[in-house]
Subunit: 346 residues, 4 copies
Amino acid sequence: MQRRLVGIIGAAGYSGIEATRLVAGHRELELAFATSDRWQGEPLGARVGIGGSLRYSPLALSEELAGPCEAVLLATPATVSLSMAPRLRARGIKVIDLSGAFRLERADQYPEHYGFEHTSPQLLGEAVYGLPELGREGLRSASFVANPGCYATAVALPLAPLLRAGLIEPDGIIADAASGVTGAGRKVSEEFLFSEVAEDFKAYRVLRHQHTPEIVQTLAHVGGVTVGLTFTPHLLPIRRGILATIYARLKPGTPPMAAREALANAYAGESFVGVLGRPEEVSLRRVNGTNRCELGMADDGRGQLVITCALDNLLKGAAGQALQNLNLALGLPETTGLENLLGVRA
Amino acid sequence: MQRRLVGIIGAAGYSGIEATRLVAGHRELELAFATSDRWQGEPLGARVGIGGSLRYSPLALSEELAGPCEAVLLATPATVSLSMAPRLRARGIKVIDLSGAFRLERADQYPEHYGFEHTSPQLLGEAVYGLPELGREGLRSASFVANPGCYATAVALPLAPLLRAGLIEPDGIIADAASGVTGAGRKVSEEFLFSEVAEDFKAYRVLRHQHTPEIVQTLAHVGGVTVGLTFTPHLLPIRRGILATIYARLKPGTPPMAAREALANAYAGESFVGVLGRPEEVSLRRVNGTNRCELGMADDGRGQLVITCALDNLLKGAAGQALQNLNLALGLPETTGLENLLGVRA
Amino acid sequence: MQRRLVGIIGAAGYSGIEATRLVAGHRELELAFATSDRWQGEPLGARVGIGGSLRYSPLALSEELAGPCEAVLLATPATVSLSMAPRLRARGIKVIDLSGAFRLERADQYPEHYGFEHTSPQLLGEAVYGLPELGREGLRSASFVANPGCYATAVALPLAPLLRAGLIEPDGIIADAASGVTGAGRKVSEEFLFSEVAEDFKAYRVLRHQHTPEIVQTLAHVGGVTVGLTFTPHLLPIRRGILATIYARLKPGTPPMAAREALANAYAGESFVGVLGRPEEVSLRRVNGTNRCELGMADDGRGQLVITCALDNLLKGAAGQALQNLNLALGLPETTGLENLLGVRA
Amino acid sequence: MQRRLVGIIGAAGYSGIEATRLVAGHRELELAFATSDRWQGEPLGARVGIGGSLRYSPLALSEELAGPCEAVLLATPATVSLSMAPRLRARGIKVIDLSGAFRLERADQYPEHYGFEHTSPQLLGEAVYGLPELGREGLRSASFVANPGCYATAVALPLAPLLRAGLIEPDGIIADAASGVTGAGRKVSEEFLFSEVAEDFKAYRVLRHQHTPEIVQTLAHVGGVTVGLTFTPHLLPIRRGILATIYARLKPGTPPMAAREALANAYAGESFVGVLGRPEEVSLRRVNGTNRCELGMADDGRGQLVITCALDNLLKGAAGQALQNLNLALGLPETTGLENLLGVRA
C-alpha cells in the first residue's frame, strides 16, 4: 500500500514534536520531512525516538520539501504560518495550520488580537475551522484547516451543545481556565523560567486573550447567537494540561437534566470527548497523554451551571486534534493513528 | 516586662506549626505550652526551630496546661474545637479558634456544611468573626474569636468594599479559587498523596464547600445584602497559597473607577492588604511566606469586573490572621510579632 | 488467530495499571482478567481507558480466574506474591512476579531485607531473574520470572558490561540514585503526602535498601565477582523516573575508551537500552513514558568513571520489563506490544 | 545609635534579593543603596517588601553610591565582581563578594574554571575566604571577603572536621549533590525554562564544575592535604535547596564513632550548623528559608561513610552566609540580623 506523504514545518516546538510522533507512527502516512532550524541536521530518532533515518531540515527549505507532499502540518508561530500557508496552498498542498493565523474570519480582528495586519485576508474564508466534534462535514476532504486553539477547544466543547439547544443564557458566561506551561511554547523569556513559574499561580492576559474572539466566533456558528463571554486564563506550575471551569445560567424554566442530556447526546458517539458525572471527576491527569477531552457538570438548583472541561493542550488542544483534521482532510477514519490516545489515565 | 502567657492546642498541623513559630517569636508573648499527640515529648526546637526547651505535651493535657494562660489558639479540627472551646471559655481563657466550629452564626447550618450537630449553639453568638480589615472594633479585647477560613478571607476581602458601597450587583457573583495542598491539612488519605496530586489540577466540593455560607454571612454583615455566590475551589499541585479570581458585575451606570477607588480606600491604611493594579500582577509567590493579601482588578468596559486576590493559606489565611486577632484581643498593636511577614516576595 | 490468555493480579497499583494497559493493548495477548479489591466491579475502561467490557474482580478470585490463563502477572506486594506464586505455579500457569518475593536466591536474606521468612524457598531456585539485556537465554519459555527491581535495573545495566569485561575494580562502587514517588507505590502514609514530599529532596533507607543484595547478586552472576557496592536512594519530588549516578574506578592501566566500548558493544543490538555520550545527556524526561534505559559516561583521566543511567521506574523498571519477560516466556518477539515505548522523548 | 551604611550591587538576582532583605531588616545596618539595571527606578518595597522609600539605582552608579558606605555586598556575576571589587577596595570600602571571582587563590585556575583571565591577581591574596565555621579569625574586621559557593559550602562543611582530625582517606571522596534551579540565577536560557526543567532530573557539568577546585582548596587549608574529590552536581525540579550526599572511607582502624564525634564537636557551638543523626533525617524542607546547614551520617561497618548535608542555596549558600561575613567584618555578633533564620522547618 502506498502511504501518503505528509510534512511537518516547525517540528521542534512542543506541538511540533507531538505532531511529528503522530505522523511518523501513523500507518497510512509517511513523514516526508520535518523542518526546524533549532534541530537541523539531527536525526529525528535522537529527538523524538521515531522517524527512521530522517533528519531535521532547515525551515528555509520547507516549501521546497513540501512539493511532493499531499499535506503539511504548520506547527509554526502565527506570523510564520501567515506567510507559509498561502505559498503551500498555491502549490495545491493541503494545509493544517496549528497557529491562530487563519482561525478568525475577520481580518480586522488580527491587529488587536495577534498584533499584525493580516496579509492574506482572502484565505480566511477558505480556511475551515477544525473542531470536528462541532461539525466535521466541512472538514472531510478539506484543503485548508485552521486548527483550533487549546483554550478555545476546552471552552467551546462544553458550551456548544447547550447554546445550540438554546438551554443557557448567551450572556454572562464565565470561563476560568488554567494551563500548563507548554501552552506558551518553548519561548525563552524570563516569565517562563522554572524559578519564576514554580510554586506560583496567576492569571494572565485578563480580558485580552486572543482565544476569546475565537471562542465567540465558534459559538456564534453553532448557537446562532453572539455570546457574552468573560475568559480568564491562568498559568499552572505544571507542564501540560488545561482545565476550564465554566459558569453559565440555564434559561428560566430549563431543567438541569436537559443540559446534562444535551452534553451526553452531543458527544455520545465521539471517540475523543467523554461526558463524566460531576465536575470533580474531571482532572488533568486523566486526559494528559491522550487526545481526550472530558466534561463534568453540576447545577445549584437555581439555574447556575458549573462545568469543568479538561484536555491535554498539546494533543486534543493542538497536535492530536490536528491529526483528526488531517485524517478527515485525507478521507481517512478520524481516529487513525490516534488509537493509543483514546484512553483515560489513572 | 512580664510577657503574656499563650498556649497552642493542635500544634503539629500545618497551621499549628506556623502559629507556634509566631507565638514563640512574639516579643510580648510567652508560649506557655504546645500540645500535639503526634509530636508529644519532642522539644519544639527540633520541629519548628524555636521555643527553647519547651516540649510538645499530649492533647489530653491541653485544658489543664491552659489554666494559667491568658489566651489559647485552637489549631484543631472543628470537632475538637467544638468540645474544647466551651471548656476554655468556662475558665475565662481567651480563645482564638482557627477551625470553622464557631464561624457560622446559625447552628442549623452545621449538619450540612460540617457534618455535625453543633453542641454549643449559645457560644455561636459570643464568637466574634475575626477578619480585622472588615471591622476590628469587636475584636479589640474580644474573648472568643472565630478565625476566618482561608478561602473565605480571599473572597470576602475583595468583595466587601464593593458591596458596602453598593457598587456591584449582589447576585451572580462567581468566585473561582485554587489552593495549595496544605489547605487540606496533613490528612493522610490517598487523594492527597504526592503521586495523586502532582501534575494534576481539578475542582473539588463544587457547590458544596463549607466556606460558601461563611462568605455569604460575612458579606451580609458588611453589605447588608444576601449575595448570590457561586464558589468553586480547585486543588493546585503546590504546597501553599490561594488565588481567587472573582467575577462581579457593576451596577448599571457605575464607573469602574469607583470600584477601584473603593478597594484602594478600604485598604489604604492596612498593613496586610495591598491593592495592586491589574489582576495579572497578583500572584502566589508575592504573598507566600507573608501575612499579606494582595488584590488586582480589571473591567471589560461593559460592567464586568475581574478581580484576583492572593494570600498564603497558612498565614493570612490561618495562623497569621490568628495573630492579628490575638494581638487585638490582648490590646496589643495588630502587627506585633508579624513585622517579618509584612513584605512582598520577588 | 487465537490470542493467548494473560491475567493481572494487583491491577490497581501504579505498576499494575501500566501492566494492564500493556497486556490489553498487546496484539498477541488477551487480557483474561484483572483483580483489584480497590476498583472491584468497575470497568477497566473507566480507569485505564482500555480493556473493553472487562471489570476488575476481587483479589480473592485471582487463583480461580487464572485457571484458563497461560500466564499471569503478579503486580502485588511481596507478601502477596509469596503466597500467590506457588499456587499459580502448582496449576502450571506461567508467572511473572513484579515484586521482590523471588528475586533473591538465598532464602536467608529475606528476613533482613524484606522483613519476612520465605515460605517457598524451593521456588527461589526455579525463578529466573528477568533482566533480558544481561542474559535472555534462561528467559525464553521460562515458567517463572522474578522481574527485577527498578533501582536494580538502573544500577546493574551500566555496571554489568564493565565487570564482565574485568575493566573496573569490583570494590568501592558507589551508586547514588533518585526516584520519583510512584516508586513507593500508592502507599497511603504521611511520608508520601504531597505536602510532605513537594519541594523536598532527601535520602532514604541509606545502607539498607532491599535492592542492594539484588544488585550484588546480579553482578556476581554476570561478572563472577562479589562487588563492594554502596547504594543510596533519594526521593525526588516528581512522579516518575529513576536516575542513577554511578562511580567506579577503572582497573590500573585500563583506558577509559575500553569502558565506553564495552558499554556500547553490550547494548548495540538492544531495543531498550541506549548508550549516549556524556552523563549530562541522560535525563528522566527522555526516558519517562518509554521502556528505554539510557546511559552516559565520563572519566576524569585518572581512572574514575562517572556513569548516569535513567529509566522510567514503572516501565523499564517494572511493567515494561515484565512485558519483555512475558514475551520471552511465551516465545514471542521481545518488543511485541512495546513498539510505542521504544522511543525517546523531547 | 548610628547605623552603619551598607550597599548592595546586583540587587535583583535571587541572591541579591535575599541580601537586600537581610541588610534592610538588620538593626545595626542602614541599606544605603541597591543597584540593579533590571529594576532601576522602582521602589524596593514593591519588589522585596522592605526598604522604605529607597529605589533601585542603575548599576553604573554603583561605585559612586558606594562612596559613603562602610561595606558593600557584590551580588553580581563573577565578571562584574572582577572589575568592581578592585575599585571599591581602592576607595577603602569593605567588600563581600558573593561571586567566585576571588575565591580561588591561584589566578591560573580562572581561565579553565571561570572562562576568563584574572585581571586582579594581586587581590586574590587579599581576599579572605568566608566560611566562618571553618575559621572565623581571619574574617573578623576583614576588608575583603570571598563568599563561598553554595555547593562548596555543602561539601566542605561535612568533610573538613574529618580531614582535620585525619579520620578519613583523602582520596576517592565522592560528592554527589543536587540543587534547586535558583542556583543557576535568573539566567534566561532555554535549559532553565519551566517546561524543560519540570519533571526532569539530570547531572550537569560532570567532572568540570567550578566549585570543585574551590572545595579542594578549602579542604587543603583545613586538612593539610590535597583531596581526591569527584563532584557531580544535578539539577532538581524545585526552586531552592542543595542536598549533598558524600561518600568517604575511614582510615583503617578508625571507629565510625570517632567520625560522628568529630562532626558533633566541630559544630557544637555553631548557630548555623546542626549535626543530626542518620542521613535520612537531613532534608531540604528543614533548611530552606533558614541560614542553617544540617548534617547526618551513617557507616556500613566496613569503613564506608555516607554523609548528607543540606542548606538553602540562597541563604547559607549565598546571602545568609554573606551576612555572617559582613557581621564579622564589621565587628558585630555573627548572628545579628539572622535571628529569624536560625530555625528548622517542619
